[in-house]
């Protein structure tokens, strides 16, 4: 199977490979896998609590070229977007951008799931924080 130029580019020069501290309250971590092939992907975002904008994103993927390219692209796409906006990224957008063939669709699904999982994790943390914080601010504010 021939990979498209864009896949090869992301594969050879993956953007934003790495990790962020999992316990940082501003960081959301999404860990997902594709049962079809057993590949795994971790995508992390750092969100500005005031603006809800994703300021940084990192990924690490153990998988095929399409999965690496999909997650690399996903980190590029989420950066600078608000959390709500990033939720609108669809695997079909990734398929189109990277010209993935049908057998590689699940690789892009993995990237979409990873974004959702990372945002979900971040929201969970916010929820937990807000519960604590609102009790504190309620008395602190005026």
């Amino acid at each position: 199977m021939a990979y498209s130029d864009k896949v090869i580019d992301h594969y050879n020069n993956p953007r934003n490979v790495g990790s962020m501290p999992k316990d940082d309250p501003k960081v959301g971590t999404g860990m997902v896998g594709a049962p079809e092939c057993g590949d795994v992907m971790r995508l992390q975002i750092r969100v500005n609590p005031e603006t809800q904008v994703i300021e940084d994103a990192k990924f690490k993927t153990f998988g095929c070229g399409s999965a690496i390219a999909s997650s690399s692209l996903a980190t590029e796409w989420v950066k600078g977007r608000t959390v709500e906006d990033a939720l609108h990224i669809k695997n079909t957008d990734i398929v189109r951008e990277l010209s993935l063939p049908p057998v590689k669709i699940h690789c892009s699904v993995l990237a979409e799931d990873a974004i959702k999982a990372a945002i979900g994790d971040w929201k969970r943390k916010q929820g937990a924080d807000e519960a604590q914080a609102s009790a504190a601010t309620a008395s602190a504010k005026e």
């Binding site: 860990m31 049962p35 079809e36």
Partner: protein
């Protein structure tokens, strides 16, 4: 379960109902493939999973002999093509059903439980976490080897071997779970269990197969890395 409840079309040669087998029960002529026939039916088997490998082998040999294109060299082109069609399906069917994992995957796909690109079901998070960590160790080991750091390679190799054994044991566990699920499925068919119960059993098998897929990949990765090591 019967082979098919849908009446097969009349035999192309004699016009009699051909009986749903490879050959017409009236005139004995080879029949076209019916789209609804699955691999199990092809072998005249119910959709049971705990199947007897020796029995499957026997059926395969008997059929490959009967359907073989060599038997049709003097027949019409139409019949010769039917024999080619059936022979090629026979080989696919045999390959898929012979292996327990591909057999189960086939059954689930046939019932729409397992679709490419649509498996939304995730493995348990702890397993993903473990899979990820082991992949990281594998990567470290490769890097250490590349840089020629013998001490580091040896230490990592030891750790991986232990992890590999752990995952090997997990694979054996999952295979045992799968075998048990097969027997449950077969028992459910035997007592003509309802849709709900079948769906539940299939969902469980799907979940087991998903877990197995991660574990198998890892075992393969670790084995490859340790075997391919000149100095491990």
């Amino acid at each position: 379960m019967s082979v098919s409840s849908v009446a097969s079309p009349a035999c192309w040669n004699c016009g009699a109902p051909p009986g749903g087998g490879h050959f017409c029960i009236g005139c004995g002529k080879i029949q076209p493939l019916a789209a609804a026939d699955g691999y199990f039916a092809f072998f005249g088997l119910p959709e049971k999973l705990d199947l007897d490998a020796a029995d499957l082998d026997r059926r395969y040999l008997a059929l490959s002999w009967k359907l073989h294109p060599d038997n049709f060299v003097r027949a019409e082109e139409f019949e010769r093509n039917l024999s080619l069609d059936r022979s090629s399906v026979l080989n696919d069917a045999y390959r898929v059903l012979r292996d327990p994992v591909s057999r189960a995957e086939y059954l689930l796909a046939r019932h729409g439980v397992r679709k490419e690109g649509q498996t939304k079901q995730q493995a348990p998070p702890e397993l993903l976490e473990e899979v990820f960590e082991l992949n990281e160790s594998l990567e470290e080991l490769r890097a250490a080897r590349l840089s020629g750091d013998a001490a580091e390679s040896a230490a990592l190799g030891k750790r991986l071997e232990a992890a590999g054994r752990n995952f090997q044991a997990k694979l054996a566990e999952v295979d045992a779970e799968l075998a048990a699920a097969f027997r449950e499925w077969d028992a459910a068919l035997d007592r003509s269990a309802g849709e709900d119960e079948r769906a539940r059993l299939m969902a469980r098998m799907n979940e087991i197969l998903n877990r197995r897929s991660y574990i198998r990949n890892l075992v393969a990765g670790v084995t490859h890395e340790l075997d391919g090591a000149p100095d491990a």
